[in-house]
């Protein structure tokens, strides 16, 4: 897949309900870049966060991750890059930074299922749009000629078969998108993974900031998460999901 096709796919995916970039957001982004280049990383992170107040931008998230990393906030940086890669998997920047940060911090990414691996190939919105369009195109190619008293041509059937195949192929990535939406990054330093959802629960293992986790269950303000080092309960504010609830 060459770069132009990738850009086209991203454009299609992001055209779904995408508002125009507001002036305030652009200003905040510009301020963040200036502050970062001046070495004022805390101010840069603040500006990038302000830019993400209403809408999320893959590039802004990438820069936010860099600013957080410069402040030593490993968890927040990895979370921002994961979100950037979630939005725009075609940008290698987020993946490079994630790889570099995890190598330096001695962290391992979460083990993804095959569906989830497939879901990382395209933006989540594109998978949803692809499934929607292909399904209804297949249905339309089967039904519309009959409705309009047109003779079914060969291209009708070919297009229907292709659309149906595309729909079936997009099912697994869509499932992967749904399950990957429950993955997250631990942002708290030395997060205690407890056996029970109580503050005095037995600590199973203590995890460093930036560790990946998968949310399995929610009870109040506590999450039951799966990590590479075991399952346990954490507090909601100790982790950041890839998706914003």
């Amino acid at each position: 897949m060459n770069l132009s096709i990738k850009k086209l796919l991203v454009l299609v995916a992001l055209l779904m309900g995408v508002p125009a970039l507001g002036m305030a957001e652009a200003d905040f982004f510009r301020d963040g870049v200036v502050a970062y280049e001046a070495g004022r990383y805390e101010s840069a992170a603040h500006s990038f966060k302000a830019s993400l107040d209403k809408h999320v931008f893959a590039g802004t998230l990438l820069n936010l991750g860099l600013a957080e990393w410069q402040q030593g906030h490993t968890g927040e940086a990895i979370a921002a890059w994961e979100q950037s890669a979630w939005l725009n998997p075609f940008d290698p920047g987020a993946r490079i930074n994630l790889s570099q940060a995890r190598e330096r911090a001695g962290l391992d990414p979460l083990e993804l299922t095959r569906c989830e691996i497939a879901s990382t190939w395209l933006p989540p919105g594109l998978w949803a749009g692809m499934a929607t369009l292909s399904l209804w195109l297949a249905v339309a190619m089967v039904t519309l000629p009959e409705f309009f008293r047109r003779r079914k041509a060969g291209w009708h059937q070919t297009l229907s078969a292709l659309a149906l195949g595309l729909f079936l192929l997009s099912l697994a990535p869509n499932i992967g998108v749904l399950t990957r939406a429950n993955t997250g990054i631990l942002t708290g330093k030395n997060t205690s993974l407890r056996r029970t959802p109580t503050p005095s629960g037995e600590v199973v293992v203590t995890l460093a900031a930036g560790e990946s986790c998968r949310r399995l269950r929610v009870r109040g303000d506590d999450w039951l998460v799966h990590t590479r080092r075991g399952n346990g309960w954490i507090e909601r504010q100790q982790a950041q999901l890839l998706r914003v609830e």
């Binding site: 992001l14 309900g17 725009n88 987020a94 203590t206 460093a208």
Partner: protein, 591 residues
């Protein structure tokens, strides 16, 4: 041979406990109970004491000891000790029970304890009479009552402080040195460490005269504060020793069968002090003594998160190392530490006393630790009278990924390169534009409106399906469509008729409405119908009645208005409006 073979087979079929039991001599339980009684020694001087000893050939539990012994008035008897032992006589074992009383005469003379009965196995057994002679003055050196001597290492100790105690039986001119069996310490408020017992035969001076003595050394630990009265008792056992004996010096040992005599000692008093409170150090778990802690040894200093590592600790010092409990590890979120396991003892080396070795297993749970946690521990030193800090110090460790989550380490990493700059390899550049954007960060599939949008195509296809179905139905029943269209056209024609401004418009509209209302029944084009066709659609009664006349007049007036110059009948036609409305209503009902 057959009998021998049978016995062997029987023995082989027995279990080991059965074989052991059968190999022991039989216990004599049928012999009649007898009793002996004597004073030891039978002659004493003024101020001296004798031991009145009663011995039964029966277990102690079967004997009902009398509450008081019928002794003469000048002789006071005090109970001292009792015990039982098993003696092999011939090829049977017999149990003997002995009761010791201390006899203290208050005046010289010869005192005879009369015989009296004691209940043994529920039957009376006569205790024979015994005589004690108390001389007013000693004329020749006499044998004193043999007894054990208890000597504690100290008379003032703290609770929990180990105390060495020796029990001594010194030889006399009449009795050579001999061992003591079934030796036990009597008293309350202490525990005896039998594993620390040692036996020896040494030469000790008594009244300046060196005499061999059997010495039994053991260790007790007071467990309650207060005063302990400690005494000992045991049986003389001749040259039979219950364990290894260390003999030092020139000692002559006499052979011959032992004479089992129950001996006891005068009680000694030990004052037990409570531990000082209020200034205990962390980690105090009852260790009392003078201890020291060697530097802890870690199996490796380079660790990995989740991998166990062993920490070895050696405590040296007091002889009661075997009673030393290692401190419990602290609970820390960064480490999982298992309680220590004993690793054996360590021999003394140079000036270092022997020690006890313990192993802790530690598992680092995060990358943060730089050292093992300190394990608090302390002991109470009785010699100093204060608590000593024996905390196991931290040991530096290295975790390869210890930089995660640490501000300092991240800063060190950042000193190497600056992510986001074009010069930093391995990092992306700073994004120049916000890039692709989205109104939401999350899967579309989880938003309600996504599923609402999915409903729109569904509705479209349902609508198309319904439209197609109706179209097919009309194709199968064209009359339904004609009637429906006729109804619609008739409603429009009646509307036009209502708005007719003059008679000509009214007549045109009336004819058109009648034609539209009747055309579907033929079927025919409405404009092709004439008056007769309309009349055919009316019921016979109406056709000849007033409605028929009205239809004829309307068609005639319409023809006249269309083709004649005379318009005199216009006013008459206008009067037909009401009747025409009724006719059209009847025709519409048939559509």
């Amino acid at each position: 041979m057959a009998a021998f073979g049978s016995a062997n087979a029987q023995t082989a079929s027995m279990t080991l406990p059965e074989q052991l039991m059968r190999s022991q001599p039989a216990t004599d339980l049928l012999a009649p109970a007898t009793c002996t009684a004597s004073f030891d020694p039978p002659q004493i001087g003024p101020g001296e004491k004798s031991i009145y000893r009663i011995t039964f050939n029966a277990p102690e539990i079967s004997i009902r000891r009398p509450a008081s012994i019928p002794a003469p008035t000048p002789l006071h008897l005090h109970w001292r000790a009792s015990g039982q032992n098993l003696q092999i006589i011939g090829n049977v074992a017999q149990t003997f029970s002995t009761f010791n009383y201390e006899a203290v005469p208050t005046m010289p003379g010869s005192f005879t304890l009369p015989e009296f009965n004691v209940e043994v196995y529920g039957k009376p057994v006569t205790v024979p009479a015994a005589t004690l002679v108390v001389k007013s003055q000693r004329t020749e050196p006499a044998e004193l009552a043999r007894q054990l001597v208890v000597e504690p290492a100290a008379n003032r100790v703290f609770v929990g402080e180990p105390l060495n105690v020796s029990v001594r039986l010194q030889a006399t001119p009449a009795h050579g040195v001999e061992g003591v069996s079934q030796l036990q310490l009597n008293g309350d408020g202490f525990v005896t460490d039998k594993s620390a017992a040692r036996q020896s035969i040494q030469t000790l001076k008594k009244n300046g005269v060196p005499l061999p003595a059997f010495v039994y050394e053991t260790r007790i630990t007071p467990i309650t504060a207060g005063t302990i009265k400690l005494s000992a008792q045991g049986y003389t056992a001749g040259m039979q020793f219950s364990g290894p004996v260390v003999i030092s010096g020139q000692v002559s040992l006499s052979s011959g069968p032992p004479q089992y005599l129950l001996l006891d000692s005068e009680p000694v008093t030990i004052e037990v002090l409570p531990l000082p409170t209020g200034n205990e150090l962390p980690g105090f778990n009852g260790a009392i003594g003078h201890f020291s802690c060697d530097p802890p040894l870690l199996a490796t200093n380079r660790l990995a998160v989740g991998d166990p590592v062993q920490l070895t600790v050696i405590f040296r010092g007091s002889p009661n190392l075997d009673r030393l409990h290692p401190p419990l590890p602290p609970r820390t979120p960064e480490w999982q530490i298992f309680p220590a396991t004993p690793g054996g003892s360590v021999a003394a080396a140079g000036t270092n006393p022997p020690g006890a070795l313990f192993h802790y297993t530690l598992i680092p749970l995060s990358y943060a630790p730089r050292a093992t946690p300190a394990i608090p521990f302390s002991c109470f030193d009785p010699a100093l009278g204060c608590y000593l800090d024996l905390t196991i110090p931290p040991v530096p460790v290295t975790l390869p990924a210890a930089n995660a989550g640490s501000d300092v380490d991240t800063a060190q990493l950042l000193a190497e390169d600056v992510p986001g700059s074009s010069q930093s390899p391995g990092w992306s550049r700073l994004a120049a534009t916000p890039g692709p954007r989205s109104a939401l960060l999350g899967p579309l599939q989880l938003h309600p409106w996504f599923w609402f949008v999915q409903g729109l195509p569904v509705l479209g296809f349902i609508g198309l399906g319904m439209w197609e179905r109706r179209r097919r139905r009309w194709e199968q029943h064209p009359e339904w469509r004609r009637l429906r269209e006729a109804r619609r056209a008739l409603r429009r024609a009646r509307s036009v008729l209502e708005r007719a401004a003059d008679d000509a418009d009214f007549l045109r509209g009336a004819v058109s409405a009648l034609q539209i209302a009747c055309a579907p029944h033929y079927p025919a084009t409405p404009g092709a119908l004439v008056c007769g066709d309309i009349l055919q659609m009316l019921p016979a009664a109406e056709r000849e009645g007033e409605p028929g006349k009205t239809v004829r007049r309307i068609f005639a007036a319409a023809d006249t208005a269309a083709f004649a110059a005379n318009t005199a009948t216009r006013s008459n036609v206008s009067d037909e409006r009401v009747r025409l409305k009724k006719i059209l209503a009847n025709l519409e009902e048939r559509l």
